[in-house]
Symmetry: C3
Subunit: 186 residues, 3 copies
């Protein structure tokens, strides 16, 4: 008899293979990833790669970052995910080169279909292109693509695609102005 | 001589009995609730029930959920509270059947009366009716009632009552459209 | 060869002395600050003072508060920082007397200059004057001053200065009404 319902009123959509892999990753995370000093970026990259993540050289995944399924994560080179980022990669999350995901941000690939009473899980991938900065405590929802070199302001919630080379912010996040490189306005 | 002031400039409004009960619950939480594997929903329900919570069958309270005072918590059947939900039940929190409270959401029954310089604690109960989905990282403030089968969008902040069968979102959360069951619009 | 990049694409802007001091503080934090029972406010004040913080009598810094560099923190008397406040004092944070910083709030003194591709770290101090209440899960950005006796509503994001004696809220937080002491309106 089944008496518990995880995440939704539907039966779990995850395969036994997925569940077992996540149990193994959970143990590795608690024992070998989470308790490491911040400077051990190379070690955490290796551990994530062993669990199927693709992570380029020089990228920093901080020890308090949560990753649902490393095999759904691709990160380019010289990117970083700071303290307490939640990388909820039920679906694919792809992050380019030279990106910064600041502390407390939440990349969320999963939702529920609320048109049905059973609310089945629905997922959609997230793409963050090269040179993007997602500032602190930003929410990025399922299916979102953030174009290259854009900046998402702190505490924004991103539900729709963001074009390249803009500063976007708010709830929901909207482009506010172009991103122009050069000296800061005085 | 009293040199520390907890949550406000007023003397603590909590009775010695309340404080002792919370110390006991805090020890039980750290030793017996927090370190359990996710699947042990039945065990955590039992533990909460021992501390006075009323929780229906099939409901899932994840191990990282924070609960201020279990004796102020009522949850129906087949509901779930996901990772890192903060159930700050200084006053009563009542959740119906088939509800989902997604990760990082914060149900906050307490505030301070800022009309007085001493800012005394004020509390008001929260009611979440049957079939509600509170999506990720939502704030629900003191005194709020969310009507049956409504959905609160991710990252919203709810300061006022939400009627039944609506999709509500934003800061402050407002109803945006009715919730209609059937196929998703294409 | 340098293969990791911390927080930004620029070389770390922090001196070796700063880094060593933070390693020492990190060890003290994990061993002596974080695991203490809530009531041991006097002990945590002493510990912070040993690392250069100035904290007045009767102030309460909860054990789950994160403090980046205690030597950049000044707190007056009878103030409190509640559970899971993040005091990200890369630059100075100054909090007056009789202030309350509620749970999950994030005082953030650092940002990146996004006008340059290297995104160097930029910092600016935060000032919170006497008698201010920063409610739950509020973000206070770099360079912000909040005037005496003002209240910032729960879940607000403060990017600009807030004058004294107002209630402010929203994204971005704006003054909504004056703060008037006396009986609450019925």
């Amino acid at each position: 008899m089944r008496t518990t319902v995880d995440q939704s009123h539907s039966p779990s959509p995850h395969s036994l293979r997925n569940k077992l892999a996540r149990v193994l990753w959970g143990i590795a995370y608690i024992c070998l990833f989470r308790p490491t000093p911040k400077v051990m970026h190379r070690w955490r990259r290796l551990l994530l790669q062993l669990f199927g993540a693709r992570i380029g050289r020089g990228s920093s995944i901080y020890p308090s970052v949560r990753i649902w399924a490393p095999w759904n994560l691709t990160v380019g080179s010289y990117s970083s995910m700071a303290h307490h980022v939640d990388c909820y990669c039920v679906d694919k999350i792809t992050i380019g080169d030279h990106c910064t995901i600041s502390q407390y941000s939440f990349l969320c690939t999963a939702s529920h279909d609320y048109h049905l009473a059973s609310q089945p899980l629905i997922t959609s991938p997230i793409h963050i292109d090269d040179g993007v900065w997602v500032a602190a405590d930003v929410f990025v929802g399922p299916g979102v693509r953030i174009g290259a070199q854009s900046v998402i302001g702190a505490r924004s919630s991103v539900f729709n695609d963001v074009p390249a080379k803009v500063i976007a912010a708010g709830y929901p996040a909207r482009p506010l102005k172009p991103r122009i490189f050069g000296n800061a306005p005085s």
